[in-house]
């Protein structure tokens, strides 16, 4: 059994890796920083006595994705779960002012994610099994002035995952779209909000449980489904006047 985490140096990714390792999965940890990924790999191997491999990959290095993933797959065997957790919120004002900055946000959250998913999809079709888990965001459900560059990239990723699920279904491969609300990580450290932040550990456990149940789309924390339902229902003539976060 093996589970792959892309974006293993994020606390959500690390929590997912620990969750699956505790249940006996060998783990492939993909990240752009080798040293940190190796620290996480030793930790997982020591705590849970499973094998943990490191795959150094930058989400924006699209040309390198396929070869790197295939090489790792050749040595580590069938992939049960592959979770794409990496993401980059960027800086909205920076992205507005500098198209290279905007393109970077789009490349990490969307283009890079698509490139990795396509390689995984090909492998899993060949296996005839597997699950792809794409970590998207509630920010992708409706555009907002304060983060629409990031939001649009996540929204595109959400749409992509929907299509991918439709395509992979007949091959016995599952696709889970995870729309995170607030999780207590570096991304939300300085965020002041009345809404509670989920722990990375609880988020990981919920994601893994949703994979087991074969869910298609999940919000986490769950109440975000309700919030986004309301936000999506606001008519555009009104919505465009609102200032939300």
């Amino acid at each position: 059994m093996s589970a792959w985490i892309f974006g293993a140096t994020s606390r959500v990714g690390e929590a997912l890796a620990r969750h699956w390792a505790q249940r006996g999965y060998d783990i492939v940890l993909s990240a752009r920083r080798r040293e940190e990924a190796e620290a996480i790999a030793s930790d997982i191997a020591l705590r849970f006595r499973v094998r943990a491999h490191v795959l150094v990959l930058d989400a924006t290095d699209i040309d390198g994705h396929e070869a790197a993933i295939l090489a790792m797959a050749a040595s580590s065997g069938a992939i049960d779960h592959a979770a794409l957790v990496f993401g980059d919120m960027g800086d909205q004002e920076g992205s507005q002012a500098d198209s290279a900055a905007a393109a970077h946000v789009i490349n990490v959250n969307y283009t890079g994610a698509v490139s990795i998913c396509e390689t995984l999809a090909a492998l899993m079709i060949e296996q005839g099994s597997g699950n792809i888990i794409g970590v998207s965001s509630v920010a992708g459900d409706r555009g907002r002035a304060s983060n629409y560059i990031y939001g649009s990239a996540k929204g595109a990723f959400t749409l992509y995952l929907q299509g991918l699920r439709n395509r992979l279904h007949e091959h016995g491969v599952g696709v889970l779209t995870v729309k995170l609300g607030f999780v207590d990580t570096r991304m939300t450290w300085a965020l002041q909000s009345g809404l509670p932040k989920a722990t990375p550990e609880a988020s990981a456990a919920a994601i893994a449980a949703a994979v087991e149940r074969g869910e298609n789309v999940m919000y986490y924390p769950r109440f975000w489904a309700g919030i986004m339902g309301i936000i999506r229902a606001i008519p555009e003539p009104i919505y465009k006047r609102l200032k939300i976060g």
Binding site: T9, A39, S42, D43, L46, R47, R186, W189, A190, Q192
Partner: protein, 455 residues
């Protein structure tokens, strides 16, 4: 970019003082370096699991960096038991990972919710101090981020001055990023133990004198009775059992599991722990054990960490918080004087613990030295409590003893200097590595260990 700094309320375990200050939380070692570089010229201090009682891990008007998420185990040698871990790894993490392999942390405090960084910075002691020394004695090397921004490898051979000053150094020499130390080999999760009732202080010393065969000793002592029964209590002594396996460390028994669900926060009230309820508890606890001597096999969790089963028990003291007074004195008469002073003051201590330390003494700001240590919790009575503690300080200082910095929130600078004669030599080392005092805590400022320019 999201900001790495955010306002958070910070306090020690006693919840006095507590205040809001700018904090960062490190996910990786690089984040600690980034925080140091971007601290806006203000001083900074590390904060682990916040189990020190007072103001050691906080800094109003400065910055705090949380290290708890630096929690990776980096290397382990099954043959020697030597482990290398990031500084935010907790004693709980270590036990859960290594007890199934037959290893236990060399020294553990009365709670497993402490980080390795905090264990080194306070040079913590356990029930086995008389045979194993303190945590620092087992540390072979550390990697520490110092004021220059460099990560320095320090051990007894390399950068030995920094290494020694960091053990017990209360975070003031830099932020420990990782540490290497030897774990102790054990057979399983059980402890062979005996509890012996003692009727007064003399009897405590008598039982202690004949307990050499036990690697772990500690006693609960009733600080509410005066006269002949002053210092009565229960002496607990034990050792890791040679009984193999016997369940895994996750299985702490039904009672423990039920206790886990108990959360003290809803009970928070200033009146809950008052003189009356404290006296009643102490009497009930003393009378619970009917026989003079009881031998039993205990699970390590109830032997080492009995309080951990009530989550957030520090909230039982209510909003006013509480303080702990822990001191060590080289002679028995001073112990008696301290007890007399406390029982006479009518400020009951809910939990009091007494233990004799062994011979090892690490110098610098490290607390343990040969003698008897007594630790007492007090609801925060305000001025009368502070006055009592001042009187206790006098007795302790006169006897050549000292107060534990990890428990301290109020000691005066003069008293501290009297109790820790090595302070000047320690400060010289601090200033060699941190000339502009980038690392400061409220406690360090109060005690005159740091202060001055930070830039």
């Amino acid at each position: 970019m999201t900001d790495i700094w955010a306002e958070r309320e910070v306090s020690g375990w006693g919840r006095v003082p507590r205040a809001t200050m700018l904090c960062a939380r490190a996910d990786h070692p690089r984040d600690v370096a980034a925080a140091l570089a971007a601290r806006g010229g203000e001083p900074m201090i590390a904060h682990g699991l916040g189990r020190s009682y007072g103001d050691a891990a906080m800094m109003r008007g400065g910055r705090v960096v949380f290290t708890r998420r630096l929690d990776r185990m980096l290397a382990f040698d099954e043959a020697s038991g030597v482990v290398r871990v990031e500084a935010g790894v907790s004693v709980e993490d270590l036990i859960l990972a290594f007890l199934p392999r037959g290893f236990f942390p060399p020294v553990v405090p009365g709670t497993w919710f402490v980080t390795v960084g905090g264990a080194i910075a306070a040079d913590i002691h356990g029930k086995n101090h008389h045979v194993a020394g303190s945590f620092g004695d087992h540390v072979r090397a550390i990697d520490i981020l110092v004021a220059s921004g460099d990560v320095v490898h320090a051990s007894r051979d390399e950068n030995a001055d920094l290494f020694a000053a960091t053990i017990g150094g209360m975070g003031l020499t830099g932020v420990i990023l990782s540490a290497e130390f030897a774990m102790e080999r054990v057979a399983g999760p059980l402890i062979d133990m005996e509890s012996i009732k003692f009727e007064n202080l003399d009897e405590y010393f008598a039982v202690n004198a004949e307990s050499d065969a036990f690697s772990h000793t500690v006693s609960w002592i009733d600080c509410t009775t005066r006269g002949d029964a002053m210092g009565r209590g229960i002496y607990m002594r034990g050792r890791h059992s040679s009984v193999l396996g016997a369940g895994d460390p996750f299985d702490a028994g039904v009672v423990d599991d039920a206790m886990k669900l108990v959360n003290a926060r809803p009970f928070e009230a200033n009146w809950l722990l008052n003189g009356l309820s404290i006296r009643a508890f102490n009497t009930a606890y003393f009378n619970k054990q009917l026989k003079k001597r009881v031998a039993a096999q205990a699970h390590f969790k109830s032997f080492f960490f009995p309080l951990d089963s009530v989550r957030g028990w520090n909230h039982l003291y209510g909003d006013r918080g509480f303080m702990q007074y822990q001191m060590v004195v080289p002679d028995r008469e001073a112990v008696r004087e301290v007890l007399t002073e406390i029982t006479g003051a009518g400020m009951a201590s809910f939990l009091a613990v007494i233990k004799d330390f062994g011979a090892t003494c690490n110098g610098g700001l490290s607390f343990p030295r040969p003698g008897t240590t007594l630790a007492l919790d007090f609801p925060n009575h305000g001025a009368p409590l502070l006055a009592l503690m001042e009187r206790l300080d006098r007795i302790v200082a006169t006897a050549g003893g000292r107060v534990y910095l990890a428990k301290d929130a109020r000691m005066s600078r003069d008293t501290f200097r009297e109790m820790y004669p090595d302070w000047e030599a320690w400060r010289d080392v601090k200033e060699r590595w941190d000339p502009n005092h980038h690392f400061q805590s409220e406690q360090g400022l109060r005690l005159g260990l740091c202060g001055g320019a930070s830039s």
